[in-house]
């Protein structure tokens, strides 16, 4: 069963400074829309190669991306810095909307985007677990049920009633990953956050992702620069290059037929 379907997804970013020039752009855009014409700035934007000096002030962080993910699959997303990996995950997590194209998904999404994943620094670990759980759409009772499991996996029992601003960055990620992995979401989206965890914890996370996908049938999307981890964990891999899907670099290892 397909749980994620991405069709002709594109995302344009404005990379210049916010200034009066853009006020003019806004008015111009609005004027075009009234006349029923297309957005004039969609045409001029550049392909996103970070080594070439830009002139237009707009880039395509993603351009015409198409792929599908099956249930229980672990999809690795690789590509160099600025290739658009985080942008893709942000769109899938509904942090920002695409410029064009659609994404369709089945089930609940839990995501872990870069370090500091939406914890309130003043609140304690306990309070943050509850906040994160409810943000992901769970009722308080549900979070309570998973609470001990989450704390144990993270291994931060001692600090659970300490404000998270006093955590080390590794402890932060431990807790964040643990929350995302244990709550009842169907799709797990992980941007390269595990790098700050120690080896033992990284391995534990990889094992956990494997087991949630094979045993619980969750779909996992995973970004990493570590090819060894990707090889170890992922059932298929897509590569992004300058915001486009690199067609010569799609790997697919069929799972047990669903």
């Amino acid at each position: 069963m397909i749980t994620i379907k991405v069709e002709q997804l594109s995302k344009q970013y404005m990379i210049g400074e916010q200034s009066t020039g853009f006020l003019f752009h806004d008015m111009n855009r609005w004027w075009h829309r009234i006349q029923g014409k297309d957005d004039p700035y969609l045409k001029i934007s550049d392909l996103n190669d970070r080594t070439i000096r830009k002139t237009s002030g707009y880039v395509w962080a993603l351009r015409d991306i198409n792929f599908e993910v099956n249930q229980g699959e672990v999809l690795g997303i690789v590509g160099s810095n600025g290739a658009g990996k985080s942008t893709l995950l942000k769109i899938l997590s509904r942090i920002t909307a695409p410029t064009s194209g659609t994404v369709k998904m089945k089930g609940r999404v839990a995501s872990l985007l870069e370090v500091g994943t939406g914890f309130h620094p003043e609140l304690t670990g306990r309070e943050n677990i509850f906040m994160k759980g409810t943000i992901l759409g769970m009722r308080t009772q549900e979070v309570k049920r998973h609470f001990d499991e989450i704390v144990e996996f993270a291994g931060v029992q001692k600090y659970i009633d300490t404000p998270v601003k006093k955590y080390s960055s590794g402890m932060y990620v431990r807790l964040a990953f643990s929350v995302a992995a244990h709550i009842s979401a169907d799709i797990l989206i992980i941007d390269e956050v595990l790098a700050v965890g120690d080896n033992e914890f990284q391995q534990k996370c990889i094992d956990k992702m494997k087991s949630v996908s094979t045993e619980q049938g969750k779909t996992v999307l995973f970004v990493s620069h570590n090819m060894k981890t990707i090889q170890d964990l992922c059932s298929s891999v897509i590569t992004l290059r300058n915001g486009e899907l690199d067609r010569s670099n799609i790997y697919y290892k069929p799972l047990i037929a669903v």
Binding site: M1, I2, I91, A97, G101, V103, K106, Y252
Partner: protein, 305 residues
């Protein structure tokens, strides 16, 4: 490479994945993400399903505000009392401005309470996207929860401050002041509702503009201060004798609401049907415009903050 490289083009990938595709399941998507959303879909149902989160945000705001303060929630009471004292000295003793026959302390205290309520909703909502960037950039939930939570939090503080009026009320009653409050007290919820919805709507309209034009935060800062003087807080609107000036003051949708509030809570106020209807119409239009703008802005707000 542990993975086998078996697919070289995306059309191959498609073929391969659709092989295990269950055709009956097509179309049953839980989440559909596109470049825009329907103009009038405000996700109220989804917001309701997030009510636990709403409760949590309200509690957190309440607690976080006074963390590491000594007097804690007492500040809710000290601030209006001190402001009242200053207003009393400046506007009543020095400038000798009328208070519509009400005891000045009570007049100012109710005015300040009312204004605090409006301005905390308005300024709170106007900065939603910038202030919550740390959270909005990491997790999804219906963004409208934030302004709603903000308004409910302000309502709670307002409730506490409203209780502060009681001892003064009783003091003046015992000392022979005859408050003419009867059924008019029933208008109190109406005034409060209008006050909060006007604050919320104006706030979310500004919040959408703040994302793009940061100048807005600066404008909001002093505009709320100036707006207070364009609203009958430190003077009653019955005192305005120039017709043209009265027109301008009445143009402020808050004028009628504040007078309504004073009439409902203290029994004195210049309330007219026309003025109240005007404020009500303003509220409805601002609310619709605000919801539409907010709904659109939330889609890409995180790219800009």
């Amino acid at each position: 490479m542990a993975l086998e490289k078996i697919i070289t083009s995306s059309s191959d990938l498609k073929k391969n994945t659709t092989a295990s595709f269950d055709p009956g399941a097509e179309g049953n998507w839980d989440i559909v993400i596109g470049p825009t959303n329907p103009l009038f879909n405000f996700q109220f149902k989804e917001i309701w399903s997030y009510r636990d989160l709403l409760r949590m945000f309200i509690r957190r705001d309440f607690a976080a505000q006074y963390k590491q303060t000594i007097l804690g929630p007492l500040w809710h009471l000290i601030q209006p009392l001190l402001t009242t004292l200053f207003f009393y000295v400046v506007f009543s003793r020095i400038a000798k401005i009328s208070t519509d026959g009400l005891p000045p302390v009570l007049f100012y205290l109710s005015g300040i309470t009312c204004w605090n309520f409006f301005s905390s909703i308005f300024t709170g909502c106007s900065n939603i996207f910038v202030q919550n960037a740390w959270l909005f950039s990491k997790v999804y939930f219906p963004r409208l929860i934030m302004p709603i939570g903000n308004a409910i939090g302000a309502l709670l503080r307002f409730g506490i401050q409203l209780l502060l009026l009681l001892p003064f009320f009783m003091y003046y009653s015992f000392n022979g002041y005859d408050f003419s409050i009867g059924w008019s007290i029933l208008l109190l919820p109406v005034a409060i509702l209008m006050m909060s919805l006007i604050g919320l709507s104006m706030g979310i309209i500004i919040s959408s503009l703040t994302v793009k034009y940061r100048d807005m935060t600066i404008i909001v800062g002093f505009a709320t201060q100036l707006l207070m003087f364009a609203t009958p807080i430190v003077y009653p609107s019955s005192m305005i004798d120039s017709e043209s000036l009265r027109f301008w003051i009445m143009l402020n949708p808050l004028t009628s609401v504040v007078e309504l509030f004073r009439f409902a809570s203290l029994g004195v106020g210049t309330v007219s049907i026309a003025g109240t209807m005007y404020s009500f119409a303003f509220m409805v239009i601002a609310l619709i415009v605000g919801l539409i703008l907010f709904n659109r802005t939330q889609l890409t707000a995180q790219d800009k903050v």
